[in-house]
Symmetry: C2
Subunit: 106 residues, 2 copies
């Protein structure tokens, strides 16, 4: 029995390495934010323990993520995941159209 | 019994709306890619049904996500989630000088 328990370390080394970087935590924070905004409670209930991201320090909160991305929280609709905002901006910047149409995700 | 079944539509309208947009699918694709790269099988097993993203058309594959982001697949390490790559590039762009280096978003 003990053997079996010791067999798999159950530590996701790559993920751990990732979450030890600032960008990695930011990414995890973006995912958690997405799950929260859309009330994906089951996914969240699995994601947090599986990534160990429920612990306070490992994942950035929306507030921190906002700051790190240079977004002001008031600027982003609370019903819009930051990740979506990021991709949308990135894409508009990429396609170079000075996008007047701000997405109105109400 | 029937009443109970009919009570909650179990349709996440906001999410559905989001996944009906190109950027929304892209975001979901980025999350799925993250979960796959780090072998977060449990999260994936919940995320896909909860978002209905297991169906072929609703979420972009890594290949499509790459293309949409203007990343060449060969350019991104398969062990690196695209989302991490995106954030890292975005941050470097943001923090550094008015980047002559256009991220090669083709």
């Amino acid at each position: 029995q003990d053997k079996l328990e010791n067999k798999s370390p159950l530590v996701n080394e790559n993920l751990k390495k990732c979450l030890n970087t600032r960008d990695g935590r930011l990414v995890a924070g973006l995912i958690v934010d997405f799950l929260q905004v859309f009330n994906l409670d089951f996914s969240l209930a699995v994601f947090q323990p599986e990534t160990n991201s429920a612990s306070l320090n490992s994942v950035d909160s929306r507030e921190v993520v906002c700051r790190d991305l240079g977004l002001s929280e008031s600027e982003v609709n609370r019903k819009c995941p930051l990740l979506l905002e990021l991709v949308t901006r990135g894409r508009h910047k990429a396609s170079e159209e000075p996008s007047q149409k701000r997405i109105t995700l109400a």
